[in-house]
């Protein structure tokens, strides 16, 4: 009954639950939006799991192969790009007006998405978009760190919600760069799924672990004055 509860979906469910508990009354619309984003991600993961199961069953039964779940993740990519960019805008705006930088980043991603779409349609993984998006988010993360360490004021970063959110994002997308770059190589050998899924499991646990902790910081540990900044 609960066979859809894998390591990744479990980590996502944990993140979603923490977000609902911690952020449902948050003053910031963007932070409250994490609940919706995590809910969409979790539903996509479950549907993705079901689609993958159908695909494997068809493979075993040697019947007509369905399209698998890649198209679903390609759609999720749009939500990821927009929402994570928005959160980066929110955490960096304390230091600098990053509006135009984020808009340019999203435009670049839109171009790559269109190229991926025109080259191989929606049923193949949009590797170029994923790679560029990961690089962009890693740059945003480093920018945040740069502003944080150059800030005159001292923060207790153990309790700083944006820091933990950015840290989780950095780990996930830095790891995803390696994973995406090697996806092409992995696709030529049969161990592709085992290896990528193991890597994604680890990345997901780190991502949702850090994000959940950042939600806890946001709710209970970060000073109100720091949130209002």
């Amino acid at each position: 009954m609960f066979d859809f509860l894998t390591v990744s979906t479990g980590a996502e469910l944990f993140g979603l639950t923490t977000a609902i508990i911690c952020l449902r009354n948050d003053q910031s619309l963007i932070w409250r939006g994490q609940i919706l984003f995590l809910l969409i991600t979790w539903l996509v993961e479950i549907e993705g799991y079901n689609l993958k199961k159908d695909y494997v069953n068809a493979l075993v039964a040697k019947t007509d192969l369905p399209h698998g779940n890649v198209w679903l993740y390609n759609i999720l990519l749009i939500f990821q790009a927009v929402f994570i960019s928005l959160v980066f805008y929110d955490v960096v705006k304390v230091y600098v007006n990053s509006k135009y930088f984020i808009i340019v980043g999203l435009a670049v991603l839109a171009v790559f998405y269109a190229i991926d779409l025109s080259q191989h349609g929606v049923f193949k993984k949009h590797n170029n978009t994923t790679l560029v998006m990961s690089i962009l988010f890693v740059i945003y993360s480093f920018s945040y760190y740069y502003y944080l360490i150059n800030e005159r004021q001292h923060h207790n970063i153990f309790k700083l919600a944006p820091f933990w959110w950015v840290t989780g994002t950095l780990f996930f997308f830095f790891g995803q760069i390696a994973s995406t770059v090697f996806f092409q190589i992995l696709s030529t050998i049969e161990i592709k799924f085992i290896t990528t899924y193991t890597i994604y499991k680890i990345l997901n646990v780190i991502l949702y672990g850090c994000w959940s902790y950042s939600f806890i910081c946001r709710k209970w540990l970060t000073n109100k004055s720091e949130i209002l900044l």
Partner: protein, 261 residues
């Protein structure tokens, strides 16, 4: 076999890609802790500076009050007593003598007024923010000159007035006050030269006398006023230094250099 190698390669690369951000995060933690220590040290220094400033303010006021008290007792008090005595001895039937005594009394009263005015200026020296360092030292010099014991040459650059730092002014004024005290009490000098110059972001106060001088090792560190060490410490608090050169019978020269404003 090849598959196994490729898989290992991918896993190792991904692991490296995970370790790299871990190093970045650790670096940020270390840097943040260092920043915290630095901020705490700065706050501590600011607190000690403010406490030293308050102490200096009190010392300046105390010194000014002591001087005024002594002046009132030794000078103005005497003048007014003499005025009272002269007026009480006026014989109204001897008009010529009475005229003379009244004129003397008027003269004594005018001298008292003049002395009071000078004391007023000295009191103004305490209000450094209002009169500025150059003027405050000038009041001190005027007061010193009045004793008739010293020949004083005081020169001050014009640029100082344009650049002001009230906190530093107060400490430099206190240092000057104490150097004057030391000259009066210990130097037995007859000539004093005071130069106040400002150039290249550095304020330099040079005070030299032709007194008895002292051997550096024998100079009192504490006790007499601020002491030599204290003059150096006060200069150090505002980022400057005090160089004291002296020898037995060769007078003393003190150069206080302060980054300014």
């Amino acid at each position: 076999m090849v598959n196994e190698q490729v898989r290992n390669l991918v896993i190792i690369t991904t692991a490296i890609f995970l370790i790299a951000p871990a190093f970045v995060v650790v670096y940020i933690f270390v840097y943040n802790n260092r920043k915290k220590r630095h901020i705490l040290e700065k706050q501590q220094m600011q607190l000690s500076f403010e406490s030293e400033l308050a102490k200096t303010q009190l010392e300046v006021q105390e010194q000014t009050m002591q001087t005024i008290g002594a002046e009132l007792h030794d000078n103005i008090g005497q003048l007014l007593s003499l005025t009272s005595l002269t007026l009480s001895s006026v014989e109204l039937n001897n008009k010529a003598k009475a005229r003379q005594k009244i004129d003397d009394s008027i003269d004594l009263t005018l001298r008292s007024i003049k002395e009071m005015r000078l004391l007023g200026h000295l009191l103004q020296g305490d209000q450094l923010v209002a009169v500025g360092l150059v003027e405050a030292i000038r009041q001190l010099v005027s007061w010193m000159e009045r004793s008739g014991r010293f020949e004083i040459v005081y020169t001050a650059g014009d640029e100082i007035a344009a650049n002001r730092n009230a906190d530093k002014d107060l400490i430099i004024f206190r240092i000057t006050q104490e150097i004057f005290n030391n000259i009066i009490k210990h130097a037995a000098a007859t000539e004093i030269t005071i130069d106040l110059d400002y150039a290249g972001g550095l304020l330099e106060l040079r005070i030299a006398d032709n007194g008895v001088g002292f051997v550096a090792d024998e100079a009192p560190l504490v006790g007499h006023g601020m002491g030599i060490q204290n003059i150096r410490k006060r200069a150090g608090i505002i980022g400057g230094e005090a160089v004291i050169s002296s020898d037995k019978g060769a007078g003393t020269q003190i150069i206080v250099s302060i980054p300014y404003p």
